[in-house]
Symmetry: C2
Subunit: 204 residues, 2 copies
């Protein structure tokens, strides 16, 4: 499951709430070369590595996607996702649209969810409320947002985040629904089917 959104659309809040309430979903922790911030834990928020180690992993084909944001490198471990996928575990990936496209190529049955701000003005306001961002940073994020929003038609689902509780209910709904997809329950359904077919009455 891949969730993307322009910065300020509410993605982090929604994903954190989902992970807190649903023990079946694991968060895929990215590798990063950026310095650890106060309160962040290695292996939980990110796997903090230096640039040399990051390059070694990248050359080894370890990243399903990697990106450079400013001075820092970010990478998603392909082996971790493959392992989870093989075990039937559910992994949540927080990726930009380019990363999402790479995941779709490697995992065609991935579920791609885009969190959309209701309109440009709402996004502007949300970004401006963030005390940490300078006006220049807000302008930069808005420019990036356009590029991200343009890729939303390639996603399976788009949640227009007008109201956080509604958006969360929709995200939960998508998780519930995807678990009910016939294609995702093959083993279990085959077992039920066999039971109905094998117990048919025998004649003669």
């Amino acid at each position: 499951m891949v969730v993307s959104a322009p910065s300020g659309a509410g993605k982090t809040t929604l994903c954190k709430r989902l992970l807190r309430h649903d023990a079946r979903i694991e968060f895929s922790v990215s590798f990063t070369t950026r310095p650890r911030r106060p309160g962040e834990r290695d292996g939980v928020d990110y796997r903090f590595v230096d640039r040399k180690e990051f390059e070694r992993l990248r050359r080894g084909g370890e990243f399903v996607e990697w990106a450079s944001v400013g001075e820092n490198l970010y990478g998603t471990s392909v082996s971790a996702v493959q392992e989870a996928s093989r075990d039937g575990r559910e992994v949540l990936l927080d990726l930009d649209t380019q990363g999402a496209a790479s995941v779709r190529k490697l995992f065609p049955d991935a579920v791609l969810i885009f969190i959309m701000p209701p309109d440009r003005k709402a996004l502007e306001e949300r970004l401006e409320k963030r005390a940490t961002d300078t006006p220049r940073e807000v302008a930069r994020r808005l420019a990036l947002a356009r590029g991200e929003v343009e890729k939303s038609p390639g996603y399976d689902y788009v949640i227009v985040n007008e109201d956080l509780d509604t958006a969360y209910r929709q995200l939960r709904g998508i998780v519930e629904a995807e678990r009910c997809r016939t294609a995702r329950q093959k083993g279990r359904l085959a077992a039920i089917l066999r039971e109905f077919v094998d117990r048919r009455p025998h004649f003669g």
Copy 2:
């Protein structure tokens, strides 16, 4: 949205609960020639017509599907579904697997949901608890159930009804998720996209 299930899987309970709690979903009322039972209302539970009127409608191509159950005929109005589909309204159809297949042909973007009993034994017990059914009727329904269950792999979603509250949460989840499908929100998403694209900075 089409819901199918073998008799006794909990379909009617789940659909009634959904319709009671979600005003956006309409129930598609079937035509029938069977006599009205106490408490049933014409136009709400069924549209009660005589055999002659039913035949007239059928010859006129009015039914997306029709079936004969025992002495009685049942038919789903195609024009009612077409009209709702054109207006973007959500219609819930309660159909057997044959009816569901016909709807899929006429409406390729229909959502097909199958309610599955957790196992054969559970279905047997539920059918036996119904005071209204004779043992012969129970046996007949179980034989029919096998044929229905075998068609479940053709559905988009299968809800294994082990526990009614869980099954209802899953049904609600499917409704929420389908509303978030990118393909079902084209108009709204195009409007948001235009807003982001048109407001890009102009150079020169």
